[in-house]
């Protein structure tokens, strides 16, 4: 059995960042990259299934990203993934989750796994749509926000619980192959020691182009996307201020502010 896990190397903002010249993203220099937190959990779920299985289970991670994402893939290999695939082409730049999902779906068709896992969302973009969009391209059943999972390798279906509003859980049976987006807390992701990450550096990462997956440049980038980022803005800071002076002065100033907000009412 094979489990394909779609992962993403997300970016966090460093101090005093600036927006890129074209205004559509943050300057690369200020991005701190790491594996998406949700993907830690979906990978862990796949590796746990592999470790508990009596028959061989292959865990394959896939990402659609340039070379710097290899670091995130190595972390996955260190944590127990058997293979890592990275798909990239300059044309992918500017893709929205729909276009990324198209690429992942194309790779999934070739890998034909019993399950495709993805995180519920990415911590930087938070679209929460790549996984379900991939399911749509694949025409596989899917479920989002999975909080527990029972999957026996070789079985035709899996049983899982997903989170609903108001603290409710829903238990669902789903036919394989299927796409599940995994929620935080479904397990406790393991720690990848630096030693294991170093050892994983020796494992190959399979780099694939669009043509390897039977796609062309029109399937990705802005051409293949349903949406595009127009610009990125930093909102105005809030207007908190510290009132200084002795108690009487502070009270006077506070009263003034309240009057300003009330307008000219008596």
């Amino acid at each position: 059995m094979k489990i394909l896990v779609a992962v993403k190397q997300v970016a966090a903002l460093d101090e005093d960042f600036t927006i890129r010249a074209d205004g559509r993203d943050v300057d690369e220099e200020f991005l701190l990259r790491d594996l998406n937190e949700w993907d830690d959990y979906s990978l862990e779920e796949a590796v746990k299934i592999k470790e508990a299985a009596s028959q061989p289970v292959e865990v394959v991670v896939i990402t659609v990203a340039p070379e710097h994402a290899d670091e995130a893939l190595r972390k996955c290999l260190a944590k127990g993934a058997d293979r890592a695939i990275r798909v990239w082409d300059e044309a992918v730049e500017g893709s929205d989750p729909i276009a990324i999902a198209r690429v992942i779906a194309a790779a999934a068709r070739r890998e034909s796994p019993a399950m495709l896992f993805a995180g519920v969302q990415s911590s930087d973009q938070a679209f929460a749509s790549t996984g379900v969009a991939a399911a749509a391209f694949l025409e596989w059943p899917h479920a989002a926000v999975v909080t527990s999972l029972k999957l026996s390798p070789g079985a035709q279906s899996a049983v899982f619980r997903r989170e609903l509003e108001g603290g409710l859980l829903e238990e669902v049976e789903i036919h394989c192959p299927a796409v599940l987006t995994i929620q935080l807390g479904i397990n406790t992701p393991r720690y990848a020691s630096l030693r294991s990450i170093k050892q994983a550096a020796a494992k190959p990462i399979e780099v694939k182009s669009l043509s390897d997956l039977g796609l062309n440049t029109a399937d990705v980038g802005e051409a293949g996307s349903a949406s595009r980022v127009r610009r990125m803005v930093i909102p105005d800071k809030g207007r908190a201020q510290l009132i200084e002076g002795d108690v009487a002065a502070q009270a006077r100033r506070l009263a003034e502010i309240i009057r300003e907000f009330q307008g000219s009412a008596p």
Binding site: D14, D16, T188, R190, Y191, S193, L194, R195, S196, I197
Partner: protein, 706 residues
């Protein structure tokens, strides 16, 4: 007095030849059993991992002999036990040499070469010395019995903090039985020796060679007088002598045969352990070999032969048990029990003829002999145990090497795992941006040189806590102002600096440590400086003792010795003495690890403080609880924390004004403990740097930043 050669010990006189032969058969059998036991033990050590010792054999031998003969390590913090042990040691040693002399004369020199020396005046002095040795032995033994039986010292209680009552290995009564059997056996051997001497005197009352010289064996002679007064005659004396001869002899032979199989073996293993001692055992942890299958200790055979020998050297004296800060606050760790558990495990698995299956050699777990992860994670790597062990058991490297296996398996507190990931990602444990590492210097009225860009005399390695913790940043700024005021040419590495890695290494995350040490060494290599100064004892330790193993050898000073020199050279002057009643907390990594006891004390006196020591000071300083990565692991809710235990100790000092620390983590830990123990307002916790600032006010134009 008659012919001198007649004045000698009566050995086999009046023994039928058959009995003499029987004795030799038994004696050689006992010696054979002894050597077989030695072989089994040596084979056990040989099953450990290989290790090459540094340093010459001669120096090691001299060092060991000095410790053994002076008993310096045995009497530390327990002079009574040390004194009693010294009596037993010298008594036993002399009696052993006495017996060896008899063998040399009777079984070797005389039959082979016809040489006789054990007679006349030499014999008489010999006899006196041995009688006195016997008194020393018995006196020491009786005190030890009193100590075990009546004093009921907590450190001699074998109940374990990492097991519950009812567990198979909770308080190990077999140890108590062995302790008492050991004391009684030696006592009986010693006492029957005297009695035998007395019976021989009574038996040979009529022989002047024996009777007239009897006061050279004063105890035997006095006992003989008692026996005669009680009505014992020559014939009765002869019968008694024969019976006691066999009883005393057989008991002594059984004792010898059992040495390698019982606690008695410490007479060899303790000496050997002292000989292979590593004076920097905890200061400089061992590297993981390039080709290691798994990092650290997973199986008993992953301990090296020296560590297996360490296990056997332990005499259960309980000094590490007493000194351990984790044990003191009820954590499931006693260094003694880690060692004893592993010893039991090693004996059960490695003394058999063939090695058990690999699966049976796993030392991690909760079965008897195994060590649980809760125990291993309780350790603060403060080195209190290694410091006080009289027989050079090196607990901390074993614990850290076992943690390396836990880290590899991810068996750790989730918060610790998160911190390690944070350190990997950002180079600091605060999860702050690398760029912000030097931000604390922005409010200063002067610019600190960037040592990556211009040469400096003094490179200041700031460290994580001093760089990022808001409270410590104030101290850091004050230190910068003092250096500036003293006219020191100094600089920092700004974002070129990473966490020094001392605590990461002690957690057991060796891979991450290698990354951090590598990054810092690369940054240091890119800078031009004469010496490194740091306010952080943790950074100080690893840069001083561990970076050389990674290719970075630097001169580094803790700020206390650096400041002391600035005062000595007149670059800083005390103008407003700080007349406070102060106590000083020795940071583990400055004190025990690097013997920096004097500089902070001299500074305090220079500032005008009255220094009042806490009971646990200098080499017995009590860890704040933050070491070994414990600062990143939450302490159990409700239980006392080591820092609270320490603050309560300080609070008992009458009229204390200030509790002085010289370590950023200490400042954090103890200010917190001051509040949580309800001592806020009674005294304050201050960095020594802050006291220096008070005594050496800033020049008007450059007031220290708030």
């Amino acid at each position: 007095m008659s012919r001198p050669d007649a004045v000698t010990r009566i050995l086999f006189e009046a023994f039928p030849t058959a009995e003499v032969r029987l004795f030799y058969v038994i004696a050689y059998t006992a010696i054979a059993i002894f050597f077989y036991g030695v072989y089994v033990q040596v084979r056990k050590y040989g099953r450990g991992a290989p290790l090459r010792l540094e340093g010459g054999l001669g120096r090691r031998l001299a060092d060991m002999a000095a410790k053994v003969f002076s008993h310096r390590t045995v009497e530390r913090r327990d002079p009574a036990a040390g004194g009693a042990h010294r009596l037993i040691f010298y008594g036993f040693l002399l009696l052993f040499l006495g017996t060896a002399t008899i063998t040399l004369q009777y079984d070797i020199l005389e039959p082979l070469f016809g040489i006789r020396f054990w007679q006349g005046p030499f014999y008489l002095v010999f006899s006196l010395v041995l009688d006195l040795a016997g008194i020393a032995l018995l006196g020491g033994l009786i005190y030890m019995m009193y100590r075990r039986g009546w004093l009921k010292l907590p450190k001699l209680d074998y109940a374990r903090p990492d097991r519950a009552p009812g567990d198979a290995d909770f308080d190990r009564p077999q140890y108590r039985r062995e302790d008492w059997a050991f004391l009684w056996t030696l006592l009986v051997i010693g006492f029957t020796g005297y009695l035998l001497e007395a019976a021989r005197l009574v038996w040979l009352h009529d022989r002047p060679d024996v009777w007239d010289t009897r006061w050279w064996s004063p105890v035997g002679a006095a006992l003989a007088a008692l026996l005669e007064a009680a009505g014992l005659g020559a014939h009765g004396g002869g019968v008694l002598r024969l019976g006691l001869w066999w009883f005393h002899g057989l008991l002594a032979l059984v004792f010898i045969a059992l040495i390698p199989f019982t606690k008695v073996k410490h007479i060899f293993t303790a000496a050997a352990s002292l000989m292979v001692r590593d004076p920097r055992a905890a200061q400089r942890l061992p590297r993981v070999p390039e080709n290691a299958q798994t990092p650290g200790i997973a199986r008993i055979t992953d301990l090296n032969w020296k560590q297996l020998l360490n296990l056997d050297a332990c005499t259960k004296c309980g000094r590490c048990h007493e000194a351990c800060p984790a044990r003191a606050v009820g954590a499931p760790l006693s260094p003694r029990d880690v060692i004893l558990s592993l010893r039991e495990f090693a004996s059960a698995t490695l003394e058999s003829a063939s090695l058990p299956a690999a699966a049976d050699l796993d030392v991690h777990g909760k079965s008897p002999g195994q060590i649980s992860m809760e125990t291993l994670w309780s350790c603060r790597t403060c080195m209190a145990c290694v410091e006080i062990c009289p027989v050079a058991v090196e607990h901390v490297p074993i614990i850290v090497q076992m943690r390396r296996k836990l880290v590899e398996d991810g068996a750790m507190d989730p918060l610790l795992a998160k911190t390690l990931q944070t350190i990997h990602k950002s180079g600091n444990s605060f999860g702050e941006s690398k760029r912000k590492r030097g931000s604390w210097s922005k409010p200063l009225p002067f610019r600190i040189k960037d040592a990556r860009k211009e040469p400096v005399q003094v490179l200041w390695f700031v460290g994580d806590y001093a760089s990022f913790d808001p409270r410590n940043q104030k101290v850091t700024q004050t230190f910068a102002a003092l250096l500036h005021q003293a006219g020191v040419d100094f600089g920092i590495l700004y974002d070129g600096e990473s966490n020094a890695g001392n605590d990461v290494r002690r957690v057991g995350e060796e891979g991450l440590y290698e990354v951090l040490a590598g990054a810092n060494i690369a940054a240091l290599e890119g800078a031009s400086f004469d010496t490194i100064v740091t306010t952080d004892p943790h950074s100080y330790n690893t840069i001083r003792n561990e970076y050389p193993d990674f290719g970075g050898t630097y001169e580094i000073q803790h700020y206390t010795s650096f400041m002391r020199r600035l005062f000595a050279e007149g670059k800083l002057k005390v103008t407003q003495p700080v007349k406070l009643r102060a106590t000083f907390h020795d940071p583990c990594h400055l004190g025990r690890f690097n013997k920096g006891y004097e500089a902070p004390r001299e500074l305090l006196k220079l500032l005008g403080c009255e220094l009042v020591e806490m009971g646990r000071c200098r080499d017995n300083s009590f860890c704040c609880g933050a070491g070994g990565g414990r600062i990143w692991i939450p302490d159990p809710v409700g239980a006392e924390k080591p820092a609270q235990n320490r603050i309560r100790e300080a609070a008992a000092i009458p009229g204390l004004d200030v509790y002085v620390v010289s370590c950023p983590k200490d400042l954090t830990m103890f200010e917190d403990a001051l509040k949580t123990t309800g001592n806020e307002g009674k005294f304050v916790v201050k960095e020594l740097i802050e006291l220096i600032r008070e005594a050496v006010p800033a020049p008007r134009a450059e007031a220290a930043p708030a």
